[in-house]
């Protein structure tokens, strides 16, 4: 357990708690931003700079900006989140999400215990290797993901254009 890891891990968890407890929409979004940045720092620590950059440029730079855009479009700075949080169905969904998440974490921890420490192969986390992963080992997953994105794109166009 080194200081770097502890700093950013605490930062990520703290910001995560702040995200779900903040009463103001944009503050909550900024909490999420902090989570992303802290996670990126942890990825850097895990010798995965490319993933760290993607984390920032895609999650923090694009997806969260979209979230912020929606917040600014639909809410005013004086709106509070309590009103939305009173909705019961969100809470029930949240319970399921948490259960699934805990299951995943437990499984991951078990795997870590079984394998122990593993030394990294050469060039781990470099852009070239990630490209090889994408286009050789996990090509099917990659293509499925791109088809999924295509479907989302077509759906967006369908929703955007009222009459086709």
């Amino acid at each position: 357990m080194d200081l770097y890891f502890i700093t950013f891990a605490v930062m990520a968890v703290g910001a995560g708690i702040f995200t779900i407890s903040a009463r103001e929409a944009l503050a909550s979004a900024l909490g999420l931003l902090t989570v992303f940045v802290a996670c990126a720092a942890l990825y850097l620590h895990l010798h995965a700079p490319l993933i760290a950059i993607f984390q920032i440029s895609i999650y923090a730079g694009a997806i969260l900006v979209l979230v912020v855009f929606v917040i600014m479009l639909l809410m005013s700075p004086d709106d509070r989140l309590e009103v939305i949080q009173e909705n019961m169905s969100y809470r029930i969904m949240g319970v399921f999400l948490v259960a699934a998440m805990i299951g995943l974490v437990v499984k991951a921890l078990k795997d870590v215990k079984e394998h122990g420490a593993v030394s990294l192969p050469d060039g781990f986390g470099s852009p070239g290797q990630i490209g090889e992963f994408f286009f050789r080992d996990y090509l099917l997953h990659f293509e499925v993901a791109s088809v999924l994105l295509l479907v989302a794109l077509i759906a967006a166009i369908y929703l955007g254009k009222k009459k086709l």
Partner: protein, 346 residues
Amino acid sequence: MEDWIIDLIKVVFIWVWCLLIAVVMTWVERRASAMMQDRLGPNRAGPFGLLQPLADGIKLFTKEEIIPEKAKKILYILGPALFAIPAFSAYAVVPFGDKIVIGGKEIILQVSDVNIGFLYVLAVGSMGVYGMVVGGWASNNKYSILGGLRSTAQLISYEVPMGLALLAVVLLYGTFSMREMVLAQQGTFLGFLPNWGIFKQPLGFLMFIVAAYAEAARVPFDLPEAESELVNGYHTEYGSMRLGLYLFGEYVNLGTLSGIMVSIYFGGWQLPYIDMSAFLGPVSYGIASFLVFFLKQAFFLFLFVWVRWTVPRFRYDQLMGLGWKSLIPLCLVNFFITALLVQLTV
């Protein structure tokens, strides 16, 4: 000297340099705009009005710091910092010179030559929007919120063509490191042109420069500020040095974008046709390469000003239309042509 001391010196140097550029740019912007509009501009403080930025700085520092009553206090204070930090940190991977030998030690004139430097620029560049958004939201003013709202949509839209234009460059050079990209631009292209990215990627450069203007929220894409519509957009409610930080951050951003343009499309620190390292000593070569880089950068900084006083602002739907309907398809075309050419020549 130990490595970390050298790194520290480099960081401090580039930080001061950024600030200097920003300071001088405020003067250049006002004087040059005046000259283009048949005026004289600020010419009272010092010779040619060169001390005007200093006077402005003193004014901004000594002004009362006002936080509007209905503003969200913490976010309001956070906004300018969120805007300025990414602007400064993007400079870390821009190579501002080749290398300099001091005391038998070779020093690369770049804060950090990381192998994903290029993506780092994109990632950090996309973070600047939070400053605008937070500032606009925290001011709790309808103009500010509109400015912030516009900035989010605009920056997301133009991130895509910018990334696509740069990806074509990555295909061309086969590396993510900014320094290696500059080194790949040595020599000549087709026998008579300098081997610069602009000649291999003319369309890509055009797309990139348009996207860069939109990313920096400069005229003709200054929708988030839009003086004539939104008072001053996201920083309407700001005053004193908080406003100063926003204005400074903008100019530092311009400096970074100019640096990237020079490094990727204009051969970085290299002079065309002439190999400076052949006849210059190790120290003077380092300084000369830095000066060459700076001159190129200065041209693009001036171009920002020049365009600002030439082109009128786009309407919002035109801005979105240009981004999604023109730039992205053109960038894709450019990308595939580049891929084809790279595949054919390799």
